[in-house]
């Protein structure tokens, strides 16, 4: 997370407009290797839109998005696919393929991109599922047979299938119970340390911010208001940021993360 290193992802002057409605104007953001960057902001500030434009699902109206030193929107389709394989994306609602079992879901990119035989791919898929904390017997179930937390874990396993360098997580702990959410935070940290991932994490979960994130970027008024270490961000003089981090939930999350300071 040292700022001296070259960023993996460099967003400069990004603008996203939908008709008359402008979501981002002149937005700058960096993601450094090996860090977990939490992206927060009020509802409708375009957190998911930012994620979608970085991974290439949405063509920005203006601006540059450099990923691994290449301008992603300008790349021809084949080179883009090569770059996109170095991404893993966990969508808000999992987006598992409902007609495939869990192990087939994870094995799909392994078969398509790494060219593994099916049996190998499924064995490896079970390893990834285990890595995401799912027991072996659920590997042959279909997504419809799973709980929300298990779907999130399976979607994480699929995002990790090709050993990505950057992991994009869209509200990974939303809809999980507090125990499951805490376990998910630990899982992200473990995987980051073990695999050397960089993580772009869109969240509303203050506990996740305190437990897992190295830096926090706050989206406000169509751009990144501040992006820095959590204590610096929390001390920023801004009404929304103050309400966010020093409201009742923010204080509770702070106390949970710093038990030694509680009275």
């Amino acid at each position: 997370m040292s700022a001296s290193r070259e960023p993996l992802i460099r967003v400069r002057g990004l603008a996203n407009r939908f008709g008359q409605h402008s979501v981002h104007e002149n937005l700058d953001l960096d993601l450094y290797p090996g860090e977990i960057l939490g992206v927060v902001g009020g509802s409708g500030t375009g957190k998911s839109v930012l994620l979608r434009s970085i991974v290439g699902l949405l063509r920005p109206s203006a601006g540059r998005i450099e990923v691994f030193g290449e301008d992603l929107p300008q790349l021809p389709a084949r080179d883009r696919s090569r770059v996109e394989r170095r991404f893993g994306v966990l969508f808000q609602r999992g987006a598992l393929f409902t007609s495939l079992t869990l192990q087939e879901n994870v094995a799909l990119p392994l078969i398509e991109h790494a060219g593994l035989p099916r049996a190998d791919a499924e064995a490896l898929a079970r390893v990834k599922l285990a890595l995401a904390g799912l027991p072996g017997e659920v590997a042959i179930l279909y997504p419809a047979e799973l709980s929300g937390g298990m779907i999130k874990r399976a979607a994480l396993a699929r995002a990790l299938a090709l050993d990505p360098e950057v992991l994009f997580l869209d509200e990974p702990t939303a809809g999980l119970d507090p125990i499951g959410a805490a376990a998910f935070d630990r899982l992200i940290l473990t995987l980051r340390d073990a695999l050397g991932l960089s993580v772009f994490l869109v969240t509303h979960d203050l506990d996740t911010l305190y437990a897992a994130c190295d830096r926090v970027a706050v989206l406000s008024r169509r751009r990144v208001r501040v992006a820095d270490r959590l204590d610096i961000v929390a001390a920023t003089d801004d009404e929304w940021i103050h309400d966010y981090f020093h409201g009742p939930r923010g204080r509770a999350a702070y106390r949970a993360a710093h038990p030694e300071e509680s009275p």
Binding site: P33, G34, F97, T98, S99, L110, A114, G115, L116, D120, A123, L124, R126, V127, K128, A130, L131, G133, P135, G136, E137, V138, A139, I140, Y142, P143, A144, L160, L162, D163, E165, T190, L191, D193, A194, L195, G196
Partner: protein
């Protein structure tokens, strides 16, 4: 150890935390395909154990005999790039438990490398693969046939039950104009009726021309080409007008109903409707059924006109029967009851198509595959029902002499 080997060991002995993956800037010894080297009584794991080399590594693993390995016999210090795929293969070689205890077994490895191996080893230990029930071909085939037959029976029962529900809802709301969903019905009327008008008109026009051509060809041998007019009028008033319109709506609208209601079901919108104290049949099904029952007769009428027009045009071009003459024959030879017989079938067909489309929508479960299956099923069923009923009705009307 040879000098060559010493060099490589030195290069690999200083992995940074970036060494977890295979990137172009790495020295070649890091990215060379991984393999196993056996030296005296120890195994050295060498090179890059990563996803791109998976096939080669799998071969290497299968070739090397399963040895009873003691912990001390494995040397990971010359391991190059490593990712989870390589680590999973290593776990197969040395056992997941060994990797889980990597901190004690190989403390000389860098911390990030150990973290990856330990995490993976812990995840894989005590995690047996799922047990898949072995298939029994004959038994499974029999069971499948049984399920299909049972499914057909259940489907008919459900359809009858659903028709009953719809009729009950129709009666319950029929005498209370306050509960009529006029807006919804008009919107459905627009989609199922007005928007289908051009395609119905075009299709029946073409079929009308084809029927006239057929008639002209066959009747020419008998010198009775004038009867082509009767043929076209008979066919379109009694059968083709309603049949073509109904089949088009079965393909166009039944599938749309299934997909709309199915997507709502998958999104739990139907549950929301119920918990709000509303009746999905009254809210969603009745407007669709009623709109369909209004639009199909109109489309049938358009289909009849358009088909006869197609026939008239062929008569004019190929048989030199002028439009005036054509209309005169129509007026003289074709009584009104043919038109009524054709039109009377339209509301019944419309009701069944709409009910089948809606019912299949209600049967959708969460998956994308299920939406596809039920949409197919609704189109096939509604076309089947339309043609079957039309055949039965043709027999009935013939026997009645209508």
């Amino acid at each position: 150890m040879s000098e060559h080997k010493m060099n490589r060991a030195q290069v690999v002995a200083m992995p940074t935390d970036a060494s977890n993956r295979d990137s172009p800037e790495m020295p070649s010894s890091m990215t060379e395909p991984g393999h196993i080297e056996q030296q005296d009584n120890r195994l050295a794991i060498v090179g890059a154990w990563t996803l791109p080399h998976y096939a080669a590594l799998r071969l290497e693993l299968d070739r090397s005999p399963r040895r009873e390995m003691t912990a001390a016999a494995i040397d990971l210090t010359e391991l190059g790039a490593l990712d989870t795929a390589g680590a999973a293969l290593l776990a197969e070689l040395v056992g997941a438990q060994w990797l889980a205890e990597i901190d004690d077994r190989a403390p000389e490895l860098p911390a990030t490398r150990r973290a990856l191996l330990r995490t993976l080893g812990e995840a894989m230990a005590d995690n047996p693969p799922p047990t898949v029930r072995p298939g029994r071909p004959l038994w499974d085939t029999l069971a499948r046939i049984g399920q299909l037959v049972e499914g057909i029976w259940q489907q008919q029962r459900q359809l009858l039950g659903f028709i009953g529900q719809v009729l009950a809802a129709l009666v319950a709301t029929g005498w209370r104009p306050g509960r009529w969903r006029l807006t919804s019905m008009v919107a459905q009327l627009h989609q199922t009726g007005l928007n289908a008008l051009p395609i119905v008109a075009l299709l029946t026009f073409l079929v009308g021309a084809v029927v006239a051509f057929l008639g002209a060809t066959v009747l020419r041998d008998f010198g009775a080409t004038l009867y082509t007019v009767n043929l076209v009028a008979f066919a379109f008033l009694r059968e083709f007008g309603v049949l073509l319109a109904a089949i088009l709506l079965a393909g166009r609208t039944a599938s749309a109903f299934t997909a709309q209601i199915g997507a709502m079901k998958a999104n739990e919108e139907l549950d929301a409707v119920r918990t709000l104290g509303l009746d999905p049949i009254e809210l969603l099904v009745l407007p669709r059924v009623l709109a369909m029952m209004l639009s199909l007769p109109i489309l049938t009428f358009v289909g009849m006109l358009s088909g006869i027009l197609g026939g008239a045009l062929v008569c004019l071009q190929a048989l030199d029967i002028s439009l005036i003459q054509f209309l005169a024959i129509l007026q003289r030879d074709i009584p009104l009851n043919h038109f009524l017989v054709g039109l009377a079938k339209a509301p019944l067909f419309a009701f069944l198509i709409a009910v089948i489309g809606c019912l299949e929508g209600f049967k959708v479960s969460g998956s994308a595959q299920s939406v596809g299956e039920h949409t197919t099923s609704s189109v096939v069923q509604s076309i089947f029902v339309v043609i079957l009923l039309d055949a039965v009705a043709a027999l009935f009307f013939m026997e009645m002499g209508w």
